[in-house]
């Protein structure tokens, strides 16, 4: 049974619909990540779960019980805010213990809980300081400590790492994952960073303009994006989305035809086309291929069942140490390919590239939805 269940949730601010028909559920101990561009309604959704914002219609249930009308403090949740929201006039210890103090927990119990949490987060030496005397990373830890000490049913994180510098962000990401594995508490985590979403989540919900675009495991989201928005948003560098024509059909096998500047169009035969794609034979469609599925022939995945090769004119070469990225032009757009670091390619030369068509996806150009 799902532990946190959001059904048909709508949220309006005045006349403006901010969230539209959101349906999400996550199992106990799951790690749900809400991801999407800024302003898409992630924080609003998180705040409705917390009870900080009323909902217009729909239902939110935690552990099988509707939380409608429950005060935030009665929902058995803890929240980490983007700005950390540490009480500026209290010490670190005071911040961590404030909730317990309000609930009337005796002093010695509070001290024990503070000690325990500060040991986990290694902030024992900071307990007497005020938030203004802490670095960004330390504040982040204190904010986590204030949430941890509650030992809630659900943790809510609103972009907890977005105010940290790049290196610290990666470290804290790992630490959050470790904490989750250790405590096994259900987490709802908001971020606009798709890498955070991929690395942390057991389930990802992709939002855009208040509409749930796709809800699934990271692998589902990454490999079978429901539409072009999800395909483009998840993954870095982004998936190549190319205009192409589908040829063949009715018995013969299908081919993807991509225009190339100053050359014949490139034809890629698809061996394992499924039925849905057949209906688009002879039509313009969008061909999506991730950079790592477009490689030098030697670097291609040996387990792939369907690989097509084609000569492409390399326009730019960008060595990145572990890989080399190459930019070419297909279907009128720039295409990024990800090659082995020592692949022998040069800008301005033609090189044979291997398309792993197992990993290719196709979209309807009008509806933007995935065909296959």
């Amino acid at each position: 049974m799902s532990f946190l269940k959001i059904s048909n949730l709508y949220k309006n601010y005045g006349q403006v619909e901010i969230l539209k028909d959101i349906n999400i559920e996550i199992d106990k101990g799951g790690f749900l990540v809400l991801v999407g561009p800024s302003g898409c309604g992630k924080s609003t959704l998180l705040n409705t779960i917390a009870g900080l914002e009323p909902i217009t219609s729909g239902e939110i249930a935690i552990n099988g019980k509707s939380v409608a009308g429950l005060h935030p403090s009665k929902r058995d949740i803890a929240m980490v805010f983007q700005s950390y929201a540490l009480y500026p006039n209290m010490t670190v210890a005071g911040n961590i213990a404030f909730g317990m103090e309000i609930r009337g927990v005796p002093k010695d119990e509070r001290d024990k809980a503070i000690k325990q949490v500060s040991d986990i987060l290694q902030i024992g030496h900071l307990l007497d300081r005020k938030p203004s005397q802490l670095s960004g990373g330390q504040r982040q830890r204190v904010a986590m400590g204030r949430a941890l000490v509650r030992d809630p049913q659900v943790f809510l994180f609103d972009e907890p790492l977005s105010n940290l510098d790049a290196k610290l962000r990666v470290d804290m990401r790992t630490e959050i994952k470790r904490l989750h594995q250790r405590m096994k508490t259900t987490i709802v985590y908001v971020t606009h960073d798709q890498i955070e979403a991929m690395t942390l989540a057991s389930k990802i919900a992709v939002l855009k303009d208040g509409i749930l675009q796709q809800f699934g495991t990271p692998a589902e989201i990454y490999n079978s994006p429901a539409n072009m928005f999800v395909a483009d948003f998840m993954g870095s560098p982004a998936m190549n989305l190319l205009n192409c024509r589908l040829e063949g059909g009715a018995g013969s096998s299908l081919s993807v035809i991509l225009d190339r500047p100053g050359d014949q169009p490139l034809a890629l035969p698809i061996k394992l086309a499924n039925g849905a794609l057949g209906a688009y034979a002879g039509k313009e469609i969008i061909f999506g291929v991730r950079p790592e599925a477009l490689t030098d022939p030697d670097g291609a995945d040996r387990n792939a069942k369907s690989i097509a090769e084609g000569e492409c004119l390399i326009e730019v070469v960008e060595p990145a140490g572990s890989d080399t990225f190459a930019v070419t032009k297909l279907g009128g757009k720039e295409v990024v390919a990800r090659l082995r670091a020592d692949a022998a390619i040069h800008a301005g030369q033609k090189t044979k590239l291997a398309f792993n068509l197992d990993k290719a996806v196709f979209f309807d150009p009008k509806s933007q939805l995935r065909i296959a």
Binding site: N47, A50, L52, H71, P72, S73, I77, A78, M79, F81, Q82, S83, A85, Y87, P88, N89, F98, G99, I102, R103, R146
Partner: protein
């Protein structure tokens, strides 16, 4: 640039600086002159004042005018000095300032952190209260004081001043709390703090500068008020400003200018002290609203 022209530049800047200081000192003297006249003449016997030179230092120093102004001078028909009226003013100002400041802070808290439908209209109406002239509210106030049986009492004056000041105090606190992070309030809500707990434990401790601004503003306004004091006070609730007027206008015998000067300084002293003690915070508080972050 050559050394010579640099020299000229330095000399020029010293010259400009000197002019600035001279002008500033002249202005300071100009502003301080009335105070000097009051202090000097309040320490002279009356004869010396009559001889004519207001600016001269006393030949014979005396604090008798001060003692007289404080405890024996004729105020209206009674020779009691300003002391009882000073006490009246304190009894009026302290509760009125406290009440209007606390209510203003609560208003600001609600208007920014517990927003409700039409909150901006409510705030607009409260703002309007800042622009209503005293004279317009005189008669309605008198009527209400009469109906509630508070006419002529210190409590009545406290009430009028507190209500009249509410527009300003609300404006001050609302603008200050507008910049206060709402996420802190939300965090405290999740921690289970109640409406008043959040106010007392989270907002108030960060409100020092704006409290100082509000208290100074309200204190000086209410302490210096004459119109409400003369309109609504009874025999036992006359505030200092009105008493000072009565002292100066008492028509028995000679005009004791030295006593009048002493009385005027006594009346101004509390506001002066408040400014000197907390003026620094006053400026800082005003700035805090203006420059965010």
């Amino acid at each position: 640039m050559s050394a010579a022209s640099q020299d000229v530049a330095t000399r020029n800047s010293i010259f400009v600086r000197a002019i600035i200081y001279v002008v500033l000192i002249l202005f300071a003297i100009y502003y301080l002159l009335p105070l000097y006249v009051m202090v000097v003449n309040s320490l002279k016997p009356l004869d010396e004042i009559r001889q004519g030179n207001m600016l001269a230092l006393p030949k014979q120093w005396t604090i008798a005018p001060w003692l007289s102004a404080w405890s024996t001078a004729q105020i209206g028909v009674q020779p009691v000095g300003l002391k009882p009226y000073f006490i009246n003013s304190v009894l009026m100002v302290v509760p009125a300032v406290a009440l209007s400041t606390i209510l203003g802070a609560l208003n600001g808290y609600v208007l920014t952190k517990w927003r409700f439908k039409g909150d901006n209209i409510v705030f607009g109406l409260m703002l309007l209260a800042c622009f209503i002239p005293f004279q317009i509210v005189l008669i309605p106030s008198a009527r209400i004081l009469g109906l509630t049986g508070l006419a002529g009492t210190i409590t009545g004056l406290v009430l009028i001043h507190a209500i009249y000041g509410l527009g300003f105090t609300t404006l001050f606190f609302r603008n200050y709390y507008e910049a206060f992070p709402t996420e802190l309030v939300r965090a405290a809500q999740i921690d289970g703090a109640s409406f008043f707990q959040i106010f007392r434990r989270i907002l108030l401790p960060s409100s020092g500068p704006i409290i100082v601004v509000t208290v100074i503003w309200q204190f000086t306004n209410i302490w210096n008020d004459f119109l409400f004091g003369s309109s609504f006070s009874g025999f036992n609730s006359i505030p200092l400003t009105v008493a000072l007027n009565n002292l100066v206008n008492s028509s028995t015998g000679v005009k004791e200018y030295n006593v009048h000067f002493a009385g005027a300084i006594l009346a101004a002293l509390p506001t002066l002290i408040v400014y000197i003690v907390s003026g620094r915070y006053f400026v800082r508080g005003l700035m805090a609203g203006a420059v965010k972050g």
